[in-house]
Symmetry: C2
């Protein structure tokens, strides 16, 4: 039953589960045992109707007007996200960003851990940074298979990313968080999420600009229409 | 006319413009002068129909079967993204990640530049990293107003993020890229984009798991149904 729910969950819902899980854990830590969708909505900035629809995918988790059982939700989401298992992550590209990710190493999440780093030229090859051994790319397939790793983060620049990712997928990696914007070709069944800071900044600035233009236009129109 | 288009562009379309812009510049650099939606679709991994719909927001940019004028598209998007102007960005939180962002400093984009960093305790306060002066948080309002900055990146941990962001918005910042997952309260007209690496990794792993479960189930069913 649980398995089937896991498989048929809508993509947009699945994307929100980590956030729900995080906030519900915060509520439980504060002693909250039941929560209504509109209460959760206020803190998490997701419409209450969306929350109710998302939660309904998991069957009867709450009663109308009575709220959801926080612990029950947490248990359900924890199972989905497999938070009781340690997930090993490989890091590709040990430059400035790669080093920062290794230094931080998901320290606020007990079950996510970068366990090995790879680069083809950084001076740290053969050393250990914050407990994480750094290997040459030549050892990538061997180390990833050895540790049974299926998740990787790549900070390799666009020009080398496709090659690096091909090595990853060949070694069995199926989930890749990629900090280079260029779109990658990956085999079916491999998921890539692009973290593209430049595009994010440009989009943010565009929305701020557009709103500003709109406001200026409305102001101009209002001024124009005002009677003398 | 352009102004109006800028204002009324659908949010989802606006989010794709930076990516279109980047790819079209790559095509132009390779000498391509016209491009069809299905060609662009293949490299950018966005459905051709979506591309056509997006481009149609800008009026007559192409003829059916003939393709779009690459330079015309680039000019249109460049104006929208204001790529000819230097956008100064403030960075909050000069820890591992903040330092990495300053070191990289959008070096592949001439018009985006982190011009100042702020922290309330890092040892680099009063120094310059990769050309970027680092100030104490006490100087934030003064420096941001002085430089007319309206865009910021925050790597401040969740527990301090709300306070830091309040200072930013008071000083005139309207676009914030936030690396802490906790949702922030901001005044109307201020845009926040959350970069939540933990949630991204968890979601990626969930999809890979779900597919795997699905495949295992299908395999199990197939095996079960197979005649002896």
């Amino acid at each position: 039953m649980t398995e089937q729910h896991v498989v048929t969950l809508p993509r947009a819902t699945a994307k929100r589960i980590p956030l729900y899980y995080r906030y519900l854990c915060m509520y439980r830590a504060e002693g909250v045992t039941r929560i209504k969708s509109h209460e959760l909505s206020k803190s998490i900035h997701i419409p209450a109707a969306t929350i109710r629809r998302d939660f309904s995918c998991f069957g009867e988790l709450g009663k109308s007007g009575y709220g959801y059982d926080v612990s029950h939700l947490i248990d359900t989401f924890a199972r989905m996200l497999r938070v009781d298992e340690l997930h090993k992550i490989a890091l590709l590209g040990v430059g400035n960003l790669g080093r920062a990710l290794i230094q931080n190493n998901f320290r606020r999440n007990d079950n996510l851990r970068i366990t090995c780093g790879f680069d083809n030229q950084c001076p740290e090859i053969g050393t250990i940074i914050n407990g994480v051994p750094i290997y040459h790319m030549d050892q990538l397939a061997e180390k990833i298979r050895e540790q049974g790793i299926t998740t990787a983060i790549s900070t390799v620049p666009s020009v080398h990313a496709q090659e690096a990712v091909a090595q990853l997928t060949e070694a069995g990696v199926r989930s890749i968080l990629n900090f280079a914007p260029a779109r990658l070709k990956v085999p079916e069944g491999v998921h890539v999420k692009y973290i593209d800071l430049t595009s994010e900044i440009q989009t943010l600035m565009y929305f701020a600009d557009a709103e500003n233009t709109q406001n200026n236009m409305e102001e101009a129109i209002a001024t124009f229409a005002e009677p003398e």
